[in-house]
């Protein structure tokens, strides 16, 4: 039996369903002496702190300590770029924590926090991308990717369109809010339990704030109740507060944000604004694209620059655009520090180019799917039109093939034919052409309700843009009874990483899944790890786990070979049994071999290490090979829109997605379905708003709506692309965490298609998120056009 590729439940599923799975704050009952922390949040988007007096807080019974800047033994900063003071002197966003109160109970801490005396001098605040652009308020570098000569190509294009679009942010709304619990032991060693996607960085920041070497701090993450990028760097300040409190009071300190605090304190998906100019021909083929991207980064740099880099690198999605110029800037505003969120800028870049595709198509009166497929990346020297396949460059002797599979940042799209393969297969299985006719018929018969249908592709680059992060470690321990502990640097947030790692370890060692135990992620097991992010968790850690298991297996093979009297290369490990290719009937138990190895003083544990090969990236020129490979997919969505209200329902969704050879099909299916719904939430109902004071207006679950059961498509067909082996990745698999999120762009495009049906052709402007109100105004616009044109 193969362990890899088997559809098994999540490794913690039994604990999940019984309520026995523990999350960071569930550990609290183990520490009855723990103090509870509560933040004092500033009621200004931008202000100088003139006076901070913590003494009144101590009058509240139960208050033990108020943490402020003077308490910090190390650096008063929880960022890697030193722009995130833990206790600020200048308030940079509404609700920023200026100090923290520790008390015997949560209630006492809250009441104490209310007594801290503060005086502020309000300062002018920048609260939108527009204000930031006007005032030149940016942070980080200008990012610029360029190929060809877009200016010239635009001038020569038969048609040119200009456009712009704003994209809203998105609240992570992991069900488990930020939490940390720090305990100082008798040797002044800190153990910090934290809900963090990046334990090594949490360790680094805690050490930085306390002024300790990192070997005095251990960070453990049992599991997270969701992360989605929101706990990649932003778990750090809360871990630092807990650690500082424990360090100063010598008592365990617990930080757990309630939902209101979590939404007002933590960063979100970046809102974006883009404007573009596109040149194309009558058949919808793009010649040139100039695009400027602006993201709202909030008050600190955080991960805004790499997020923007990914947006720039995904402004092509699946399309070859010969001449391209994409520039991006991060705006500095007085808002929460926007951060990683599943897709990491990729979704924004891709929504923009899909917006361009749709507008090009509708301006020409062509079906959007036709324009999309005409522009796909494709093998060198092939093309929609013959003359497009080869070009004669000035001074060259013979025509050269057009680099149709090379991106605007210089990377060749490997397996480029999969874009078209997936597209065609999905169109067939979703019965796309027939349904186009059905939708048209329905729309002819119904004046007040219209249906829309759309298909959109996904091409998403896998690897951290920063090459150094593409490494991972593991530590695998085999005990004498044959049971195995697997440690790796990745964290479990529901994505099924531990399940996959179990499968990889069982497969590599040739033991049963039941023999493997996945350990909580700890920095004292595997050091200097990367964030579990960028969808790379299974690729990187799987490589490392496999490496460690291979080392152990090689040693065991030597022991078994002796017993079996064969060459070690001929020894097979499978299902807890060991045999030789020559005599398959003669079987040794894995345990037997392990015991023999121990007796022969053979090492039964090993470290493993993995680094992604072949990456190179010139950050200043934005040129190179930042990605190991691309994940592909496509989705067809059908919606029905009510013309009176703009309310809609999702009738059917069909997805075909490429996960390579799935390590764990049930897990991967869950990632595809869940990613799609989350992306749909961002593009349709999740309407993140800030008010005029800079406060998050939608700061509760009752005002910020996530997809619920009512958003589940009535028909939902999801398939994984078969025979999709990805050589060079652990067991031929591909990353799956982020790419499916962008399949949801098909919902936005289907809504636009339905809106278009209320009018008589032409471009359809649809705001994002496409809430019922946004859809309604889009319908009104196309209806107005009918009235103006006198039809």
């Amino acid at each position: 039996m193969k362990a890899v590729g088997k559809a098994i439940p999540h490794e913690s599923a039994r604990e999940h369903v019984t309520g026995r799975a523990l999350y960071t704050d569930d550990l609290l009952p183990r520490y009855p002496q723990a103090l509870h922390a509560w933040p004092v949040q500033a009621p200004h988007a931008h202000a100088r702190i003139l006076r901070l007096d913590t003494t009144p807080a101590y009058a509240v019974p139960g208050v033990v300590r108020v943490l402020s800047a003077s308490d910090v033994p190390g650096l008063n900063d929880t960022g890697l770029k030193q722009d995130e003071p833990l206790f600020p002197t200048e308030v940079m966003y509404y609700g920023q924590a200026v100090c923290w109160v520790l008390a015997e109970t949560e209630e006492a801490a809250r009441l104490g926090a209310a007594q801290v005396a503060l005086e502020y001098q309000p300062l002018p605040a920048i609260l939108s991308i527009w204000q930031a652009i006007q005032q030149g308020s940016f942070q980080g570098a200008t990012l610029h990717a360029r190929r060809g000569n877009p200016e010239q190509a635009l001038a020569a294009s038969p048609r040119v369109l200009e456009g712009e679009l704003e994209l809203g942010g998105q609240e992570h709304f992991y069900l488990e809010t930020h939490a940390a619990l720090a305990v100082l032991d008798e040797a002044d060693h800190l153990l910090v339990h934290a809900s963090t996607q990046h334990p090594s960085e949490t360790q680094e920041i805690v050490a930085q704030v306390l002024g300790l070497p990192r070997n005095r701090v251990t960070v453990q993450c049992v599991r997270m109740g969701g992360g989605f990028g929101g706990k990649e760097v932003q778990a750090n300040p809360y871990a630092a507060v807990a650690a500082l409190g424990a360090y100063l009071t010598r008592r365990p300190v617990r930080v757990r944000l309630n939902r209101l605090q979590d939404i007002t304190l933590a960063g979100k998906r970046h809102p974006f604004y883009a404007r573009w100019k596109v040149g194309f021909s009558e058949d919808g083929l793009l010649h040139a694209l100039q695009m400027e991207l602006y993201s709202d980064g909030g008050w600190s740099q955080d991960l805004s620059e790499p997020v923007l880099a990914r947006a720039v690198c995904h402004a092509d999605n699946a399309y070859y655009i010969p001449h391209m110029d994409v520039k991006g800037r991060v705006c500095k505003t007085h808002k929460t520090s926007q951060t990683a969120f599943r897709g990491f800028g990729g979704p924004q870049g891709m929504v923009f180019i899909e917006e361009v595709m749709d507008r090009v198509a509708r301006s020409l009166g062509l079906p959007p799917e036709v324009v999309r497929e005409r522009n796909f990346y494709r093998a060198e020297g092939t093309g929609h039109r013959a003359e497009e396949s080869h070009i004669l460059k000035p001074g060259a002797q013979s025509p050269e093939p057009v680099p149709h599979s090379t991106t605007h940042y210089g990377q060749v799209v490997k397996d480029v034919e999969r874009i078209r393969l997936i597209w065609d297969e999905l169109k067939a299985s979703a019965d796309f052409e027939r349904r186009r006719l059905e939708v048209a018929r329905y729309n002819d018969q119904n004046p007040h309700r219209k249906r829309g249908l759309a298909i959109t592709p996904v091409k998403f680059g896998i690897s951290f843009n920063l090459t150094a992060f593409n490494q991972a470690g593991a530590l695998v321990l085999v005990y004498q009874d044959g049971s195995v502990q697997v440690n790796h640097g990745g964290t479990e947030m529901g994505q099924g990483l531990h399940t996959k790692m179990m499968q990889v370890a069982a497969q590599t060692l040739g033991v049963l899944l039941e023999s493997i135990r996945l350990m909580p992620t700890r920095t004292d097991k595997v050091p200097n790890t990367s964030a579990t992010a960028a969808s790379t968790g299974a690729d990187l850690n799987g490589g490392a786990v496999r490496d460690a298991c291979e080392k152990i297996k090689a040693r065991l093979a030597g022991v078994a070979a002796q017993k079996l009297g064969v060459h070690p290369a001929d020894v097979v490990f499978e299902d807890g049994q060991v045999w030789s290719l020559w005599k398959p009937e003669e079987r040794l138990g894995f345990v037997e071999v392990v015991r023999a190895a121990y007796a022969q003083r053979v090492q039964l544990f090993a470290d493993g290490f993995y680094r992604t090969p072949g990456l190179h990236w010139d950050k200043t020129r934005m040129w190179g090979k930042p990605f190991h490979y691309f994940a592909f997919g496509a989705a067809v969505s059908e919606v029905e829109v009510d013309g009176f209200t703009g309310q809609y329902r999702l009738r059917r969704v069909d997805i075909l997605h490429d996960v390579g050879d799935s390590l764990s099909p049930l897990v991967d299916l869950g990632q595809v379905e869940g990613g799609f719904i989350q992306g749909m939430g961002w593009l349709t109902l999740e309407d993140l708003r800030w008010d005029a004071k800079g406060q998050v207006a939608t700061r509760t679950a009752s005002s910020y709506k996530l997809p619920s059961f009512s958003e589940l498509p009535e028909v939902f067909n999801v398939r994984l692309l078969p025979r999709a082996t990805e050589p060079g990745v652990v067991y031929g698999s591909k990353a799956v965490g982020e790419p499916p999120l962008m399949l949801a762009i098909s919902v936005r495009e289907a809504l636009r298609d339905a809106v278009a049906a209320f009018g008589r052709g032409g471009i359809v402007e649809l705001a994002s998120p496409a809430t019922p109100e946004a859809v309604y105004w889009a319908i009104e616009k196309v209806r107005e056009r009918i009235l103006v044109s006198g039809d």
Partner: protein
């Protein structure tokens, strides 16, 4: 006085020294029963769901409710089950077993889903699984498809199922309560929690504590407690007042007690009032409806409360009661200003009366971002009667979200009365309606959109009514 007792997962527990504002969720977690989670503390996500045993004929039934909105003191004398009580040793409950196949990812919302699903699993007479049972649970990971599959895979409880056997027995009899924990360093103020057993008892308590907070389902009040840290030295639980539990269908009216939960009303009505049948599933979630009452929803007098638009369209009135007697007030006169009502000091809502016969044609529209469990941007209830010649004989339009209080659209009604039900009259009426109210901008919708909806919802109703009466 200083203690409360209840049954937890089949075991009797006695609790002392707990602040009456403590929620069941907070208490469970302090006890180390951390299966129930806090995701939002306002009854939106359902991660905190627990099962409450309620009387049902000669036996009992399990209702899933939000543990974050249930005060521990209100549990006194009741029986509650949590996710920890479902499995038998290593043997998973059938609902838990079903959820293994992809039903959980991060697992944080899972116990809540398991609890909601278990309540539906044990619903007597269940033919197929009603997904409405899961309308109050949010999952951020799975996208719901595998949870739906798990729900639909469930069979009937086997005969020996311990909980099914428990449900054959009656729920504990709930008695009146006067709970006041002793004052300690962590509980510095004297606090009391009453549960009167009759209106007479209630009025006596109120006479002694005139500013006491009245709590029905708690689905609004406990949100205030959790999120804005509202505290009341004296709280009075109305949840078990027999006088507020009436359900009767007479020749003149249908009466629903103010303390009847919406789920109970829904079950009892069995679709006999079509407008309400259409409306119930659009009111919050099953978890909330299992606690929320008409009395509570009307008493809070929110301009975006969901029940006023339909009850206004139904022409409902309210029976108000105080120590000095009862009086009936038409609902249209009940809301006097933003969050203000005609209730006098010492008075409370006893019942809602819906006059009979019902107007034959009706509809409820709720414009919101999310169809399920969302607060309305604009809500409209319409009830109408047309004459044999197709003229409007009677019409009532109730609206929410367009003014400081829920409102009747009198001008629009007048514009339609006696008019033929046809495009020209509707065009005029839609203009009247759009001019009748001046809605505001907020994060749920712009004023312009709300205004547009006023006219459009009336139009929508017109296009959805048959041209000629059958």
């Amino acid at each position: 006085m200083g203690e409360i007792g209840f049954w937890l997962n089949g075991q009797k527990v006695q609790v002392a020294g707990v602040d009456p504002h403590t929620t069941v969720l907070a208490w469970l977690r302090q006890q180390g029963l951390t299966g129930s989670k806090e995701g939002c503390a306002e009854g939106e996500c359902g991660a905190c769901a627990v099962l409450l045993l309620r009387p049902d004929g000669s036996g009992s039934r399990l209702e899933a409710v939000n543990g974050c909105l249930l005060l521990l003191s209100s549990l006194a004398g009741q029986e509650v089950w949590t996710v920890e009580g479902l499995a038998r040793g290593k043997a998973l409950h059938p609902v838990q077993e079903a959820m293994l196949q992809g039903g959980s990812q991060c697992g944080y919302c899972t116990p809540g889903f398991v609890v909601s699903m278990a309540a539906e699993y044990y619903r007597k007479g269940r033919q197929e699984f009603d997904l409405e049972a899961l309308s109050g649970n949010l999952c951020r990971c799975t996208g719901y498809r595998p949870i739906k599959a798990a729900a639909f895979s469930l069979g009937q409880p086997p005969e020996h199922d311990p909980l099914a056997r428990r449900l054959a027995q009656p729920a504990p009899v709930v008695e009146s309560l006067d709970y006041s924990p002793s004052v300690t360093s962590t509980l510095p103020q004297a606090q009391r929690f009453f549960r009167p057993g009759s209106l007479r008892e209630l009025f006596q308590i109120q006479a002694e504590h005139p500013s006491a907070k009245l709590v029905a389902g708690g689905t609004d009040w406990v949100v205030e407690v959790n999120q804005r840290f509202a505290r009341a030295p004296v709280q009075i639980d109305l949840g078990h007042l027999p006088e507020l539990q009436s359900l009767s269908w007479t020749h003149e009216y249908v009466e629903i007690g103010a303390g009847v939960t919406l789920s109970e009303a829904e079950r009892w009505l069995q679709g006999r009032i079509p407008l309400l049948a259409e409306w119930f599933p659009r009111f919050a979630s099953r978890l909330i409806r299992n606690r929320a009452t008409f009395g509570g929803n009307l008493g809070t007098a929110s301009p975006i409360g969901d029940s006023p638009p339909v009850l206004l369209a139904l022409g409902a009135s309210l029976v108000l009661v105080s120590a000095s007697g009862e009086r009936e007030v038409a609902l249209e006169h009940f809301f006097t200003a933003y969050r203000q009502t005609a209730l006098r000091p010492g008075e409370l809502i006893k019942a809602v009366r819906i006059p009979l016969p019902l107007l034959p044609e009706s509809c409820f529209y709720k414009v919101s971002k999310r169809p399920m469990d969302d607060i309305s941007t604009v809500a409209m209830g319409i009830a109408m009667q047309r004459s044999s010649t197709g003229r409007v004989e009677a019409i009532r339009i109730g609206l929410g979200g367009v003014a400081a209080t829920p409102v009747r659209a009198y001008q629009t009604e007048a514009a339609l009365l006696g008019q033929p039900w046809e495009e020209s009259s509707l065009r005029k009426a839609a203009q009247v309606l759009k001019a009748e109210f001046k809605p505001i901008d907020d994060h749920r919708g712009s004023a312009a959109y709300r205004t547009a909806m006023l006219g459009n919802l009336l139009w929508k109703f017109y296009t959805e009514t048959p041209e000629v009466l059958a």
